[in-house]
């Protein structure tokens, strides 16, 4: 089963309580399956960047085996609201 943006979104919502997920398929820019995701989740609260990114990596461990390039931005709901206001 190939990795799709919807699959990524569903997993992030289900496993790390994401309240907002943007998934961009950047594969056309590169030669293999690549994605750029923005994840907003209250579970990121109080966690340093590396820990947040590891949470996402663990959630998508199976999918990452097939993904060639992966970019991620992890925000708490508060950070997300601030960003939207800019």
């Amino acid at each position: 089963m190939s990795v799709t943006p919807d699959l990524i979104r569903e997993k992030l919502i289900a496993e790390i309580g994401a309240i907002h997920v943007d998934v961009e398929d950047t594969s056309p820019n590169r030669c293999a399956a690549s994605f750029k995701v923005l994840v907003v989740s209250p579970q990121f609260e109080g966690k340093p960047l590396l820990q947040r990114h590891r949470m996402v990596n663990n959630c998508l461990a199976e999918e990452l085996k097939e993904i060639h390039a992966f970019e991620q931005k992890t925000l708490t709901p508060e950070q997300w609201e601030k960003k939207k206001a800019q």
């Binding site: 990114h53 461990a61 990452l64 993904i67 390039a69 992966f70 970019e71």
Partner: protein, 222 residues
């Protein structure tokens, strides 16, 4: 099984059938030891195949307390090299493949450990700082340059498949580039970029005794 505490029956099973015991422990801790690399998966496959062939004596207790893939592989390699074992004739080949894999992967991991500790800032990337071969690796090089960090160790993973796979197991991180600061995994391109944008990178470098070039730029403009 709870973390670091084995009860009596578990200890008995550990003595009687160590390989099956490792398998069980790996299985029950599957989440944290999810194999995301060649080494992890090969280890998994071989462990299953040889589990009914080997009989060795070793103590996994300490290893499983820290329970990282690295330490389990290192312990298993040690046991293979030093332990007493019986194998049937037709399994001799399996044994040598297994032993070779464990020794080589254990050796690679040991080397990686030395590599990340040798220099303050270590980058595993695609290509070289002078000629990066991927956009993310290029971004890492550019950010470091902006901060005036130019004496760092850079390893081109495209030159060595063992390093390319090994570093992913080592840091339990699925992608390249990877930045290590003071022997510890710092993050990939995303993290470096965000820390740079937020100003946190200047602080991190300061902790290492590296004065970021951006601080001098600010001074000049004032």
């Amino acid at each position: 099984m709870t973390d670091g505490v084995f009860n009596q029956s578990e200890r008995r099973r550990q003595k009687r059938d160590p390989i099956a015991f490792i398998l069980e422990c790996l299985y029950s801790r599957g989440r944290s030891l999810r194999p995301v690399s060649y080494f992890g998966e090969a280890l998994w496959r071989l462990l299953r195949e040889v589990s009914n062939v080997f009989e060795t004596s070793f103590n996994l207790y300490q290893t499983l307390q820290t329970c990282t893939m690295n330490s389990i592989m290192r312990t298993a390699a040690r046991c293979l090299r030093s332990g007493a074992y019986r194998t049937a004739q037709n399994n001799g080949e399996l044994l040598s493949v297994w032993a070779r894999l464990m020794c080589s992967s254990s050796a690679v991991l040991k080397t990686l450990e030395e590599m990340v500790k040798k220099d303050k800032v270590v980058v595993f990337m695609k290509g070289t700082p002078a000629q990066p071969m991927c956009g993310f690796s290029k971004a890492v090089v550019q950010i470091l340059r902006m901060h005036g960090v130019d004496s760092y160790a850079a390893y081109n993973v495209l030159d060595d498949q063992d390093v390319r796979q090994g570093i992913k197991t080592f840091s339990n991180w699925p992608t390249i580039p990877q930045v290590f600061i003071n022997g510890e995994f710092f993050g990939g391109c995303d993290i470096l970029l965000q820390m740079h944008q937020s100003g946190d990178l200047v602080e991190e470098l300061q902790k290492l005794g590296i004065r970021s070039a951006l601080l001098d730029q600010e001074k000049e403009s004032k």
